[in-house]
């Protein structure tokens, strides 16, 4: 069933009896051509693009609990392609272009809103670095603008520049960046994939791989064995756990990132804005809540909850930027598991096992990558060659020394 304004009106007048399930709840078949492990944004997108772009039939997505419950279900909804390095920027720009047509493609309103992102800069050195980055973005076909303090204040008049400990010199703006309704992205991909015949199987946890002679045969699950020609793992925070079933150790640590939302407020923030003298990013949802976050807590964790010091740190940066937020109230906080890689860049690659593929190490930049991650992973699964925008995301780059270290922090995951 197609969604449309007309349909909404028709159903409103007829008591909403016509709406069917957004996706089915099928039982697992004995085997599939493709099994995607992980019903998060990336897994669902992968299944969708496999079905749509690569015309693959017999696809299943296995989710251990409910779909969209991982990072796509709790993040700060920021979509952008303002990266510096050639290994990254083409991929994220490809993703942003997919975002721009996503709703029409999925026939689901994910509320992708291109309200722009501004990275504030606070020193000459930072300005030089942002100019280099803005140029890299433009060279890669993305958009970027350098704003001075006055131009930033036009958009954010209540930004603290009067008695700012770290003076605001201006910012790097990407106007095409913005936010999207995170849950709707998962649901939109799920519904669209389902309509193309993908089996989305919830409450189905993978407990092992069946491998013979270096080739994958299928997966053991809480709902029995499921055969598969190809298996794509896409499990973010659980990457190390799942790949260990295949005897792999990864260049990944799982860390906790907290995210925050305030009470609903009348519009104050027109777009996304980030603090350059620390790590803080903030936007305002259509519902009126300020959505914001900062650094990961900094220690390995699978607990999906954080601690007080980081909460305080994030709020300090919020108030440093916007002292007028002092009386706004924090409504809720979450903690999610982040698959922090050794250079802060994801991995999308084959493994040493024939037919087993890995997609992970997204750190906490995974949401904006959802469409492209799904697309290029589908490409890799279908063609066994990396998509041209994702050739740098190799598993062996730490051996060859071709790290993609956007922040220049080195091989320490909690610094990325």
């Amino acid at each position: 069933m197609r969604y449309s304004g007309f349909r909404v009106i028709k159903e409103a007048l007829t008591g909403h009896r016509g709406w069917g399930p957004a996706w089915r709840d099928p039982d697992p078949k004995p085997d599939y051509d493709y099994v995607i492990i992980g019903g998060g944004g990336h897994g669902l997108a992968t299944a969708y693009y496999l079905a749509k772009e690569y015309k693959q039939a017999r696809i299943a997505v296995l989710e251990k609990s409910w779909i969209g419950g991982g990072n796509v279900g709790r993040n700060t909804t920021i979509v952008r392609s303002n990266y510096l390095l050639d290994g990254n920027e083409p991929f994220y720009e490809f993703s942003l272009k997919l975002w721009e047509g996503l709703e029409q493609d999925l026939n689901y309103n994910a509320m992708m809103s291109q309200r722009g992102i501004i990275n504030l800069m606070h020193s000459d050195a930072q300005r030089d670095a942002y100019i280099r980055r803005g140029n890299a973005m433009i060279l890669n076909g993305a958009d970027a603008q350098l704003l001075d303090q006055k131009q930033v204040l036009e958009k954010y008049p209540f930004l603290n520049v009067k008695n700012a400990r770290f003076p605001v010199m201006g910012g790097l703006l990407q106007a095409r960046a913005g936010t999207a309704r995170h849950d709707a992205v998962a649901w939109g991909y799920a519904r669209a994939a389902d309509q193309r015949g993908v089996d989305i199987i919830q409450n189905c946890e993978v407990t092992g791989f069946r491998i013979e002679g270096g080739k994958i045969l299928g997966v053991e699950t809480s709902r029995g064995y499921i055969g598969a020609k190809k298996v794509g793992a896409c499990v973010a925070g659980s990457s190390s756990k799942v790949m260990a079933y295949a005897g792999m150790r990864l260049p990944i640590e799982s860390h906790v990132l907290q995210a925050f939302v305030s009470e609903g407020l009348k519009p104050v923030l027109p777009g996304v804005i980030t603090f350059g003298a620390g790590h803080f990013y903030c936007s305002q949802s259509d519902k009126g809540g300020l959505v914001f976050g900062g650094n990961i807590d900094g220690y390995n964790s699978y607990a999906q909850r954080g601690n007080l010091p980081m909460v305080e740190d994030v709020m300090e940066e919020a108030i440093a930027m916007f002292p007028m937020l002092g009386r706004a109230r924090l409504l809720r906080s979450w903690g999610g598991i982040m698959d922090m890689s050794m250079d802060g860049t994801p991995i999308i690659d084959k493994t040493h096992i024939d037919g087993l593929y890995f997609n992970g190490g997204w750190c906490y930049g995974g949401f904006k990558a959802t469409p492209a991650s799904g697309f290029v992973y589908a490409h890799l699964l279908a063609t066994d060659t990396p998509h041209h925008t994702a050739t740098a995301f190799r598993l062996d780059r730490f051996h060859t020394g071709h790290m993609v270290d956007e922040k220049g922090m080195g091989n320490q995951p909690n610094l990325h």
Partner: protein, 984 residues
Amino acid sequence: MSQKNRLDGGLIDRSETWSFRFDSQYYKGHKGDTLASALLANGVRLMGRSFKYHRPRGPMTAGSEEPNAIVELREGARKEPNTRATTIELYDGLRANSQNRWPSLAFDAMEVNDLLSNFFAAGFYYKTFMWPAAFWEKVYEPIIRRAAGLGSLSLQDDPDGYDKGFLHCDLLIIGGGPAGLAAALTAGESGARVILCDEDFLIGGRLNLETYEVGGMTGAAWAAGTVARLQAMPNVRVMPRTTVIGAFDHGIYGAVERVSDHLAVPEDGKPRQILWRITSKRALLCAGATERPIVFENNDRPGIMQTSAIRAYTNRWATTPAQQVAIFTNNDDGHRTASDLVAKGVEVVSVIDTRADAPTSSDYDVIARGVIDQTWGRLGLSQIEVKMPKGGIRRIKCGALGVSGGWNPNVHLTCHQGGRPVWNEALAAFVPSGTLPPGMTVAGAANGVFSTHGALQSGADGAKAILADLGIKASAPALPEAEDTPVRITPFWHVKTAKRAWVDQQNDVTAKDIKLAHQENYVSVEHLKRYTTLGMATDQGKTSNIAGLAIMAEVAGKAIPDVGTTMFRPPYTPTAMGVFAGRAWGMEVRPTRLTPSHKWAEEQGAVFTEAGLWLRAQWYPKPGETHWRQSCDREVMQTRKSVGICDVTSLGKIDVQGADAAAFLNKVYCNGMAKLPVGKVRYGLMLREDGIVMDDGTAARLAEDHFVVTTTTAKAVQVYRHLEFVRQCLCPRMDVQLISTTDAWAQFSVAGPNSRKLLEKIVDDGVDLSNDAFPFMACAEITICGGLRARLFRISFSGELAYEIAVPTRYGDALVRRLMQAGEEFDVVPYGLEALNVMRIEKGHVTGNELNGTTTALNLGMGRMVSKAKDSIGSKLSERPGLTEPDALKLVGLKPVNPDHKVPAGAHLMTKGDKVTASNDQGYVTSACYSPNLGCHIALGFLKSGDTRIGETIRLVSPLTGVDHEVEVVSPHFFDPEGERLRA
């Protein structure tokens, strides 16, 4: 306006009559009132509008779980949107305004949404607004955003201060009701260190809201007496107005004390609120329970509220929402309210009880097996329609309706570490599970023990168990007599209707929305919540979650516990963001570090800039200089011509001593340090283990077993941490000791051809500064100015004959003044960071711009420094192919072909004639400046195979800033490449 609904008695102080304003209307209330109780006393039920349909709303509760009566408290910079009228402590002159309505609360144009509600069913926005694509940002979203949101911020800086504090205790008791007080008494009298927190300004919980006796006195009197006893104990800290917002790891709790929110303005120097980080050995959760609603058609009108809230207003605040009150209940609690109302002389028109075995009463009419199927009253309840057990309906006029669907234990904090509550059939409620945060136990109503006696008992028992656990002998006080009536409830969740019955009142989520979510397969509790926005409002679902679950369970044909429960996450109630920031805002966001010459530099009118946390002089403007470049050029020229002075104290200094000090430095620097002679300084490059450059600096050997190492300003802390890691974790048997001395020494660079002459005027006799006695890269401990101990290093960042001289910090101010005075004959200049930067770029010396965390020694042209004759951190991994490619980036100098052109940092480098695309990217510019010595702009940058392309003309592009011109690749050593000047 008179307080027409004010009753006798209560816990308000009638001797204090205060005036306050809500919207344009002035009212009177008393000390001890909340805004809600005072408004109700004045006959005001309409206090807000709902989020989506803008339905008229009044208070549903008398506490922090309130979904409806939320207002903008105060005006001007102190305005607080979304503030619960039910928790606002009244003060004289209080100002509050209704929110999210236009033009007025009674007439809200947005109420049109209510008529269109059919079109605004759950998730409708996911299905439309998609065409044409561009319309989302331009048309649809702006409309939605304007309509959405609740209250509005002042947009002015918050004028109040906040504090953070730290408390420690054996036992933290969360909630001061019967359970909490009994526990505090038990633990307090046993000598344990106790902290008792309660979110209310009057401690006692429901003891202050009920009429039955405790120990032969009113519950309120017993509570007051007990609090007084506790306050007299030195080992007990009683904290009213303090909400425990989160249970964090290892017994750490966050608690917010509202120090000044009950005042118009905080007292001078006092904070508005304090965030306490409480470190507890054990915690006892006595957070009580929340009465839940029954869902029925139009159950959201002002005047419809929890029966317990009506009881609270009646007994504690001596007010009733109306003179005729009806009750709708599925348990005995509704009858308590009826009796209390009757006792206060309020007419109870009827008690509608869903149960067949409903108790009867001589004081009021009871309709057993009745349900309410409709209500009337646009801005406030006027009439209800009861469906009678034997069929037929009865209409009853009333201004208020108390609703009781039973009680939910306040389990929120038990969930903060992943615990999920379990279903209790007898109570028809979720109670805390076994998986509680370590160190936490639960007592009283929060644990499903609802009678007063039971709460007292379980509080005392909970405390005893904890004391035993902590090895503290319990001296248990006798507990007072109190009622012990069992819970009698027959679950009843909602009255079926084809029309709208509200589950989440603030977000306007109705039973129909939940059914629609099920129909569309958003069945998982998380999907339900997210799709319908159930429980996502500022009340955090405290009154709506369970009813929502029950209805989903019904339509899904499951049992409630099988549908699941949603996680409660911190904070327990919405919390001002400012309190988490504490005093860290404005200039106090982070500490400021000042150099020893700061005071003097200020006198010179220096312009300062942020470097690390330091404020450093950027340049020293002279009269007549209108642009920083004039000052900077002068400082550079004068330093190169004669002599200049720069405060370099902020560079990190680390004292490295021990028999193995040399071997240790040999391990952490990629270049050799072992054979550095005493009295000599050497430049050193430190790598990260991954082979990338971490930092650079110098090592000065003052003795066989004593080095002083410098780091960059930015990396001082990380480098020290790294050195301790190598010392303790990698080389634990080396004899080496470390300590930072950054702040201990004031260090000045004295640079320029006349630097030796200048220094000779202040060093003591016997200190020979001649080139032979004290050559380039020499160091020594000397005395100056008649005996002051000092350290002298002949090192040069500027490329001139230069020294760095260090004295104990307290003499830094005097030293810079002395140097300036002694230097007068040479026209000595102080120079700032800008001039320093120009001179180091002219010399091709690298800083943070080049050491950006991705560059190797090879990139810097220092590849040969990485000694392969020894083991050093990072040496091995720097050999990886990706870090040693033949066309690797190399540091080069860049000069514009047209001398008028700039060479801006951040620009990218392309081969001449190549198209400007990423694939042709050949490198980038890291540092740039105008060189007054060369008379043109110059820059440093990284260029592929740069070292082999000296002399090549390449293309410099910065599309971001509109730059595209040609530059020549030159050696990074623009100035005095042979280094003759610094050896002079």
